[in-house]
């Protein structure tokens, strides 16, 4: 850690860990309900569990991205954060908005629009919160001694993510238009600007961990984010095939979303090649695991599994089935959860001064969580494909099919338990690092 104000990142990461844990609990509630055990229905019905599960994911990832920015931007700009107190105000207000939203979901206080369930009054608070965050980050960047490509790409991703939240707040009487513009937020976030954020964090980590020249890494960063937007913006069309808009999207969405895996493939090749080129001297092997893991698993989850049902001919049958959950879980895990865990693994020893670089627990966390998540993805996939054939090809009733596929949710719960064991190990490691302190300033050079 080079600047005292980078410590603020720790508390964003701690909030992420807390919310991540809670997200998994609600995942178990949903998995059990699918397996036929819905004992909590009267307190936590499925739609509550679902809204909590997906919104906690978004909030903990955003908190992780914000923490990453608070750590990376001062170091890249070579100056302290412009106002540390306001950063803590921003953290607390983020946590408060998140908690109100989550509690509200248990009392039918929401806006039932997939992924954007936060009620309208809270939306305005989110906007204020994000503006404060962006103000702090961008002022730090522009007052800094240098403006690196890594910092610019990361900041641009965060700025566009904030701007793209706005179309989701437009009111429509038509479900079709509502859905159309909701994807401007959701798709252009996860298959657009969030990849900028991921790319920025990945680039920072590769520069630090591999020792490869910054110019080389940042050049390829531009190529990757260029590929992302080139395919991802018009790739939004894959959400528009069957929701009541023009057939033109079948062609545009089909072609461009089929190109989306290229960006993830480029990212995976880029990360692996930089690692090979590098000096391999950095002692923080766990951070390297998570960094390379993020690049590779995101290609599998977002790239390959996304491609598996993105063509209109396939999507006609898989649209609105558990096949989407298969792709969604590995994609979010690989692309976003793992990159947040990577920056935490890298920055935690630097902020606390405790160099737990090579712990067995850390390796257990990496492998168990990945094995568990791959198992979960397979379980969702088998359930989803069975659902497609039975319901959409053989015309069986929805609930009759659900009964047939219950067993796959038992497998899902088993795999989720392995995943949880990995995540608990990660959290114990997080706790063992202790709190950030100023003594860590001189002890770590990277």
């Amino acid at each position: 850690m080079k600047y005292k104000s980078q410590k603020v990142a720790y508390w964003f990461f701690a909030l992420s860990m807390l919310l991540f844990g809670l997200q998994i609990v609600y995942g178990f509630i949903m998995g059990s309900a699918h397996a036929g055990y819905d004992g909590l229905h009267s307190i936590i019905p499925f739609n509550t569990a679902r809204a909590v599960h997906t919104n906690l994911l978004v909030v903990w990832l955003l908190s992780g991205f914000m923490g990453a920015a608070y750590y990376i931007i001062p170091e890249e700009a070579q100056r302290e954060l412009v106002n540390v107190k306001l950063a803590y105000v921003q953290l607390i207000s983020l946590a408060v908005v998140g908690v109100i939203a989550i509690v509200g979901y248990h009392f039918n206080y929401w806006e039932g629009r997939k992924f954007l369930e936060i009620p309208r009054p809270l939306d305005y608070l989110v906007v204020v919160n994000v503006l404060l965050f962006l103000g702090l980050i961008l002022t730090t960047l522009f007052k800094g001694k240098r403006k690196t490509t890594t910092a610019l790409v990361l900041s641009m991703g965060l700025l566009f993510a904030a701007l793209l939240y706005l179309p989701g707040m437009l009111p429509f009487d038509s479900q079709v238009k509502d859905s159309f513009f909701r994807w401007w937020v959701v798709h252009l976030w996860v298959e657009g600007v969030w990849e900028l954020i991921m790319g920025g964090i990945l680039s920072f980590l590769l520069i630090k961990l591999t020792g490869v020249d910054r110019e080389v890494i940042e050049k390829w960063l531009y190529v990757i984010v260029g590929l992302t937007f080139l395919s991802g913006v018009l790739g939004t069309g894959h959400h528009y095939y069957y929701i009541g808009v023009n057939k033109i999207w079948l062609i545009v969405g089909g072609i461009f979303s089929a190109l989306e895996p290229l960006a993830f493939l480029a990212m995976a090749l880029f990360a692996v090649n930089m690692y090979r080129k590098g000096e391999k001297k950095h002692p923080n092997k766990l951070a390297l695991y998570w960094t390379l893991g993020a690049a590779i698993v995101s290609f599998m989850g977002a790239g390959l599994l996304g491609f598996a049902h993105t063509l209109p001919q396939t999507n006609k049958y898989t649209h609105g089935t558990l096949v989407t959950a298969m792709h969604g879980h590995l994609a979010f895990w690989g692309a976003y959860a793992m990159i947040v865990l990577a920056i935490i693994s890298y920055s935690l020893p630097n902020m606390t001064g405790r160099k737990l670089y090579e712990s067995t627990r850390g390796r257990v966390a990496f492998w168990l969580s990945n094995i568990g998540m791959i198992g979960m993805t397979v379980a969702f996939g088998v359930a989803g494909v069975a659902q497609v054939y039975l319901e959409r090809k053989f015309k069986m009733e929805f609930m009759a099919v659900q009964k047939e596929i219950e067993i796959h949710f038992v497998v899902l719960i088993l795999c989720a338990t392995i995943f949880l064991t990995g995540i608990i190990s990660y959290m114990i490691d997080f706790y063992k690092h202790g709190k950030p302190n100023d003594e860590a300033l001189e002890t770590v050079s990277n």
């Binding site: 679902r50 009487d173 609105g320």
Partner: protein, 143 residues
């Protein structure tokens, strides 16, 4: 070999061009001649139905137009599949509806609210879905 400046130009140029095309296609999709979203048949009851749909997060269990959660049935063609009487019974019942053991929250909607939701489902059922309706509709099941 590609320089950093060329890489940046590729990123900025590609982004601007694709985004402009995206905006153009959006305008095209909702232009009067191309619009297939059944927009002209939205009534007050449909809007009220949509508000109830959102206020109770029905999408948190069901899917509609293929979007939502995957815990309860797709409702795009539900009126054709079940009929209005059945739907009204599900929406107004004071006890949990539990076909095949999977429970739905007992919302206990009023008759008027149930009618608004049915108007919403009826409106949804008449949207041109580029063939997806044949996959989820009862007509497709008879084919």
């Amino acid at each position: 070999m590609l320089s950093k400046k060329q890489a940046r130009a590729f990123f900025l140029g590609g982004t601007v061009i694709t985004f402009l095309i995206f905006i153009g296609l959006t305008i095209f999709s909702f232009s009067k001649a191309q619009d297939q979203s059944n927009d002209e048949n939205i009534t007050e009851a449909v809007v009220k139905g949509k508000e109830l749909w959102e206020a109770n997060n029905c999408m948190g269990c069901h899917t509609i137009l293929g979007e939502g959660a995957y815990y309860a049935p797709e409702l795009t063609k539900v009126v054709e599949r079940r009929g209005e009487g059945y739907i009204k019974a599900v929406l107004t019942t004071p006890v949990d509806w539990a076909p095949n053991g999977r429970k739905m929250v007992a919302y206990g909607f009023s008759q008027e609210e149930a009618a608004d939701l049915i108007a919403f489902f009826n409106w949804i059922g008449k949207i041109d879905l580029n063939g997806f309706d044949t996959v989820v509709s009862p007509l497709a099941k008879d084919e």
